[in-house]
Amino acid sequence: MKKTIRTKHRVPMLVAALLLTITSTLGAQELPLLLQERYIMAHIGFQRQYATSYEYPDDISLGYTIFNGEFPVVIHAEGPELSLYSGSPLFIPAFLSGGTTNQIGYIDAYSNYTPIALLSLGWRHDLLKTGNLANDGFFASWGWRAGILSGGLGYHFAHERPVGYLGVSLDNLGISLSASPVNLKATLTYRTEKSWSISTSAEVDEHGRASFGIGFGLSRKDYAAESIFTDDWSLSVAHRGSLLHAPENTNAAFEWALEQPRYVAIETDIQLTADGKFLLIHDPILLRYSHGFDMVGDMTSEQLKSLDMGSWFSPDFAGTQVLDLAQLGEISNANPDVYWLLELKNLVWTREEAKRFLAEIDEEFDHPEKIGFYTVTLEMMELMQSLTDRPVGIQLDTVKMMFYYSDHLMPLVKAEYRPLVRNADFFTLLSSKFDRQEQLIELSEELGIPVMLWNFHDVIAGYIPKDLRHYPLGMPKMLDGALLKE
């Protein structure tokens, strides 16, 4: 028997959501000055139900999505549902079931977002009280991506059903399949070069009833995040050599960075291998470099050096090898003007390991005074500070998980940061968590140390307090012994 939905609020809600969707998407090009690293998309879809007794009739769906840095927020109004998600964009489509028609725009998210495996949490509300339990309650999922494939597994608590999802995303085409005990759904999305997209879907429920949908969408990606920085952010540091132009932390990435006149410093990442060598590698797991789930810390330097660390980025760089500290020393020695910031990715080293690391630096680098360090834990920062006079900074994102903060919360945030960065020579943060550059500038001035903002682009932008601008990178310690002893 066909259930009808009480439609009293349905039309106004859909009209309001449609207006919001259209205006905010059209306005998205104006937003980058305020927001960073955001990806905004909207879609409208139409669905024809071929089922005879489906919970709701032929339908219009509307979606509005903001992917914001690492923590995407998805607001999705669809027929009788209102959904709110946060987490990986990879797995969201799996939950857009039960009458859902389209998933416009996710194809962009697949190709533009770095997370390869992330937890998603979501909540759906049965806005129009259809009584359909599937539209209400919390769900959780785990999604992953490997190359063009993505997939995930999740659980809908209210409905007590698991969901699985598998997707393929090519340049302009996305195909996905999701399955749960109550439905099976296939979706095909095509996106043009200029952000328009169209998708179709077909779905069958557990009684064999079918529905079919078609949707149109529009998405906007922000300008490069670097363009939002004001002139105050005068320090340009090359992030992992380069993220966008060559495989990160390799010879090619450093070649790129060294050729760009804007950089005074290059940032790179250090990890300790199972055999006690220091290699330049960012991720603790090799998945993003297309070498499976092996952990860097469990492998020997020989094993790691036998891996192709370039093909995952582009066939242009096939055969690229991971670098070690001695090889970085050679690059530094050939470019004595360049400063280096080494991010120590391990949570903690033993005192002996840290000593050995510093001894290797002194041995391999003609200009160890050009090197600064920063760490991902306070323990590691303290350890390094106890062993060296070189600058040691802190990566605050890993010490304290920060989300988006509004103006009136900023004093609290600053109060929380202050003790953490008190002893650091500089601190770094993910920039997409901060729209409020002026607040960070204030904090930096107050603490008297530089702040550097990183994101998923090539540039780490730094603000140097006014009193420190005559020092290299804003760090007196970069001038080394002579000056410090005065």
């Binding site: 670097e226 363009s227 132009h245 050729e259 760009q260 006149p261 804007r262 582009s314 066939p315 242009d316």
Partner: protein, 112 residues
């Protein structure tokens, strides 16, 4: 509100720039390369363009005087809302490529 309507052409900033023009088949959009005479990525990009017999113009920004360099930087910032990095390929005034990843350039410009 909608990008293209508000976008002002910034071409006048480039009036004084002494580009070198390379003849060839016309691309869909005029191509302009800002490069450095010293940079390997730039050399590879220019070699790629020459091999693909496509029409484009280029200039070595490090050979320009300071006002001209500033004009190029301002042009890139105003037109593409990004900082200048090398090589920088302007595809008309709507799109650009930086660096040189052969596959991306082939995709953007056609194989050849």
């Amino acid at each position: 509100m909608w990008g293209k309507k508000t976008k002002q052409p910034q071409g006048s900033l480039l009036e004084s720039i002494p580009f070198t023009t390379v003849e060839g088949r016309q691309a869909k959009q005029p191509l302009t390369v800002f490069a450095l005479s010293t940079c390997g990525f730039c050399r590879r990009a220019i070699t790629f363009l020459n091999d693909s017999t496509i029409a484009y113009r280029y200039v070595y920004v490090d050979k320009l005087d300071k006002p001209a360099q500033d004009a190029v930087r301002a042009y890139v910032k105003k037109t593409f809302h990004t900082m200048l990095s090398y090589p920088f390929l302007c595809i008309g005034e709507d799109d650009y490529l930086t660096g040189f990843i052969r596959a991306s350039w082939e995709k953007e410009l056609g194989n050849g």
